[in-house]
Assembly symmetry: D2
Homo-oligomer: 417 residues x 4
């Protein structure tokens, strides 16, 4: 339970902060100007990537790199403050090759890819040359229950044929995107084990029949990389595009989500810190009716409550990261659900307060708050809606209770008569 940041982590955090201040923040406005035109700000991103690579701020998201892979090999706990820092500028993780969903995709390729798959996809991903997406959620199904998903992956001779519709495929508009990791039903037979019916398959995005139908803005916000809807009609890939074995889909989905979820939480906490800092600065700067906003007790309460809630959430996040490092992602499954719920809710709460201090400016693109608030709302769906995670936590809690059923009732509550 030692959550202190290691020296390595602290040194990298210092480098990262300097890098952000010297390179990323000055480019922020230009990034948004280009993004606003609908183009991808490649001219901003690529030079920064080169610099970050040189600065050794690269692939910080995972300790599991092989010897010849570039990167820093930080534990989840060591990565936490770095992810917080990157979260403050939501487009910055790509600069450091630490952006979703590439990180998650790299992770499952590292764990489950064949040498050929690694060479073809993982290596260029780790070098930042290739971008990838994931095809999981479907528009016509309540996707939190994976058994509702309808995309099919059907073997025909030496090929798999894929049909289906996905959405929220983040990154599909990125100019360098050319890999979609697709989740689908590979064994539709009713008698199949429900945890062995699905598979993940690697699909180059230029395969015939693979179509990016549209970008789906999240809360009206068009991300330059896109959160896209994808239609696959008779998309054919060779059998060696299967990731792991046929039927491994469920198992891989579980493995993939753990670290991805906590990275989101780390960035969220960084974004909440930014919102709190902005709230304080604005409260000191602006006055109404003859006194600074910061002198109003209601605004002071908002500031203090935000401080408390952020600090508590950070500790829960650090504990989860620490447990993932110590005991593995599977052991930390319920912890991840807990911080996922807490962090997502925190973001709308804290940013809401900051917006209120900013007045109408808070809902314009002149501050990062409108984006952070709407993104916080989206966070309550990303990697599963709150309700699914709450159910996971409750089930675990009730399971513990069943193990010692009535232990407390017996001591504290009179028996029925």
């Amino acid at each position: 339970m030692d959550f202190a940041y290691s020296d390595k982590s602290k040194q990298m955090l210092a480098s990262l902060k300097t890098f952000m201040a010297d390179n990323v923040l000055p480019a922020n406005r230009r990034f948004h100007e280009i993004a606003h035109t609908g183009a991808y700000p490649t001219e901003v991103i690529e030079p920064l990537k080169a610099k970050a690579f040189e600065a050794g701020l690269w692939n910080m998201f995972t300790p599991e790199l092989e010897d010849d892979h570039p990167g820093t090999r930080l534990t989840n706990l060591e990565y936490a403050p770095l992810a917080e820092e990157m979260g403050r500028v939501p487009w910055s993780p790509e600069v450091f090759n630490c952006n979703a969903p590439d990180t998650g995709n790299m992770e499952i390729l590292m764990q489950f890819g064949t040498p050929e798959q690694k060479e073809k996809y993982l290596d260029p991903l780790l070098r930042g040359e290739l971008r990838s997406v994931v095809g999981l959620t479907e528009p016509d199904a309540a996707s939190s229950d994976l058994t509702n998903l309808a995309t099919t992956i059907k073997r025909e001779g030496d090929e798999y044929v894929i049909n289906g519709r996905k959405w929220f495929s983040t990154g599909a508009k990125h100019p360098n995107a050319n890999l979609c990791i697709v989740f689908g039903v590979s064994d539709p037979s009713p008698e199949a084990d429900r945890h062995r019916k699905h598979s993940f398959i690697l699909v180059p995005m230029d395969t015939p029949g693979f179509e990016v139908v549209r970008d789906v803005p999240i809360m009206h916000h068009h991300a330059p990389e896109g959160h896209c809807e994808i239609l696959m009609r008779d998309v054919r890939v060779p059998v060696d595009a299967m990731l792991g074995n046929e039927g491994d889909g469920f198992m891989l989905a579980q493995a993939r989500l753990g670290p991805g979820r906590i990275h989101h939480c780390m960035r969220t906490i960084g974004q909440c810190e930014l919102a709190l800092e902005l709230m304080c600065e604005r409260a000191l700067e602006r006055s109404t009716f003859g006194k600074a906003l910061a002198d109003n007790a209601n605004i002071q309460d908002w500031i203090a409550q935000s401080r408390i809630e952020i600090d508590a959430a950070r500790l829960l996040m650090l504990q989860t990261a620490w447990r993932m490092d110590q005991e593995g992602a599977r052991a930390a499954r319920v912890d991840v659900s807990a911080i996922k719920v807490m962090a997502a809710r925190l973001q709308t709460t804290v940013v809401d307060r900051a917006m209120q201090v900013f007045g109408a400016a808070g809902i314009t693109p002149d501050t990062p708050l409108s984006y952070l608030w709407t993104w916080g709302r989206a966070m309550r769906f990303l990697d599963g809606p709150d309700e699914v995670h709450l159910k996971v936590i409750a089930r675990e809690e009730l399971k513990k209770t069943k193990g010692a059923m009535g232990a407390n009732l017996a001591h504290f509550v009179p028996p029925a008569r």
Copy 2:
């Protein structure tokens, strides 16, 4: 305290519902397609306006029309269900010439305009030929304290010269917009009565020096009519462009805001009803883990709480409308503040629940929820932030207490010893 809708109101509501179903809803998708390109959907709006005019569904927002003005002359109470209905399709009020800020602008022109001003501006507004905006809020000041505003209106000979920057001027991008009612300091002398320092002035938008700088999307949402930033540099208008007398600004601002605020609340309640209906339909339609969403007790709680809260808010809104009709907008000032706070908060609350039932679809433009949620957040600033209204209410309550100070303490709490 009779909040029953009159027969006239009920008949018009029936007509309006038919009109919405037959004409507005079928045009909804086309409207958004055009708006999405950045153009104004004139081809959708204008034919509907003509039809609505013919159907007698026109200028329903005010009873104060002169004899030769087209319109229905409904009380605020009678208007309430109609505004709710229009609220369900946020762009529809213009079809019926009932959209903000034109309605508020027409109201102060009716009350305070000279015959010449009425002929020039009010008549074409009432006919739906002219669109207008208002220049009140400023980006560089905490505008809820009007004394912070910096725009100047300076008399020079037979002209007023206007300098300043405004934003959230809704409608400034509308192709028919050509009137901006500008609020500014007309008497900057320190010894001036602080409630007599400001004026409203009528500014044609094609006056030299008047510039629409940019559209400011609200929560990333670009409205086709725009919520614009306006820059005025040495804008000159003749002295007869003054609305009321020099120094009437505060008084007019008060007069203008009452009905406008409650119209927003009425539409909000209609939008909450829509969100609740959508939530129920979706909850019945979708299943996870083998049962309909509607069978989950947490979702049932959300539905029931939404029903309770909407009904309570509607009653508070009706009571306010009724008081405005009976005693005038000034007498209902605190009531308006109360329903303004309640309705704006309700919208994010109810729509948030609906979104959660929709899953990720709730944050896409495929449902109206993402717009309604973010608009609900904006509502907490429109016509003044919550905190200003809460202060108004608290002050009134404390004033009542002072009138009977200690009345209850004396009976219920032992005296200090």
Copy 3:
């Protein structure tokens, strides 16, 4: 939808306020001193009852009195402000013969009693000579599901034999209590219609085998009349003690609860008003760190929010009362559930704020707040827990949706592809 108080109601309210100020409030401290000793403050109550009877402030809770019964015959709407006023001093309703559960018991006796039952029980109840209790909830069952109840009413010859345990039988410690209306299973056969298995029966409390086991304080508060646990072992009553017919239990339970629930809500609203008034008085009276509590923006927010919420709840309550008057208690069943949930939650919310303004004094018996807060918590169980009422409301809402299924989805949401 006319919620204005009638002239009759207004005049009685004026009389009642005078009576409270002149007679009840001055006796408040004495009442509590006696109650604190564990005795019933008969010496306080009885003279006040005589005065109230003379003043015509008697049996105000129901319009359904027969010609020779004393009382005022007010509608529910007319009764609302009177119940609010009485709520301010929680023990005062008995002074006016308007206290629970006697009012509910009188109501079902009026509706369903035989002439003999009325003569024996109703008449002395209406005169205020007899006090009564109700035996509904049971300690060993989740009583919100009536089918869980275990008390049996078994016919043996000319008698019914009753066995079972009840609790929360309010009033059983009252010196004048001598009637318990007991709910139990009269037809235990598995094939019996589940809505015809239960009955209500009239049990004199001095019947052998009827035992008041203990008083159960609600949140540590010992009411002088008691909320008691009752044990019935082979309690025998003649067959004419059956209320209505055997098997009418469910129907009578429904009939009984409507008015009783809304009376609680009315009193709750009066108690919230008192809490708000006390909060304002204290906020003006006390200072910390050099300024009055009332000058702090957070406390102003609490005051304003309380004002808004109380006003909205009152309107929902008035609408429910109006509907009960116009369409009957059955038609208003869902409305009653709604206001029941809203009012109970309001009480803990508003009183919590008032306590915080009072500081530690708020949790002592020196103010009424500690009682009002804990009573508000109890209100969330009285006449059914929130969750049962929310379920009723949700079910109704979903039923409406089913009638027009997909109406909105069709217009607002793209179809599945």
Copy 4:
């Protein structure tokens, strides 16, 4: 930042759990039966104290014991799980000589007492023979602002003369209580430094003029040890009864509150755990409408949210304890305020949910929940109301902002134009 419990702490926790199960829980009902009569359950407590002393479970609350003092010398972090465990049975801390306010009183005596004072008061306190109280809060002043306090400590020759009224003096009804540490104004001169005007003085409770006026139940709950009101009229003590120097009052008050506050938080968290466990047990045990309460999604949400919130609060508490151990109570001042606010609010939240699962039983004395809920409400005043602590936190946060004013605004928000 290592929050792992030490081996010593873990071993003691195991011993304590065994002790609780074997000795304390079996005595719980007897304790309450005696307490209910108004007497102090000495016959329960004293034998348990002797056993606990023998078992080495004694004076666990502080590491600062001198060599010849009995006790375990645990750090705050080591003490945390033990205090949680004791919190589950609110009267149990006395068994281990770890109860408020004796612990706080022992702490300041250890730090500031003269050898004579230690011999007279500290030694018997550490042996558990003497009980003590503290006279801080006053009924007639808003005591969160210490400058409002009115009790006077006036030097006359070789004596101090004390006059004033205190309340919430916990423990004053305890049969062994005979020391009150009184806070008062020792230098009333207007020119005195406001942080040097007050002193703490040691007053034997049998001194003439010292009167325990009454026990003040907290939320109707009469604790057997009492939360008492004390009146001091010309109470005379020798000059060597002064604790520290005249004028040290503020400094001592600060020193005294830190550990005391966090002990409350630790116990609170233990109580929340108990409430959650009871909630789960009951939810599994009871059924309505054909399914276990635990199968309802709303109840599952309550369970999961409670789990998340308790875990987050515990981490914040552990971090605070750790900081106190590492950097001292003064350095952790803001941390203490943060956990104080969070823990107190958590208790009403979590226990509220548990009560709702228990139904009406939750508000009876048959479960510990009614006590825990009302005590949670009291916790929001103990050691200062939420608002005072929130102000402390906000001030600190704004101070940090001032140090880097505008740092973020400059990067993220366009400058005023």
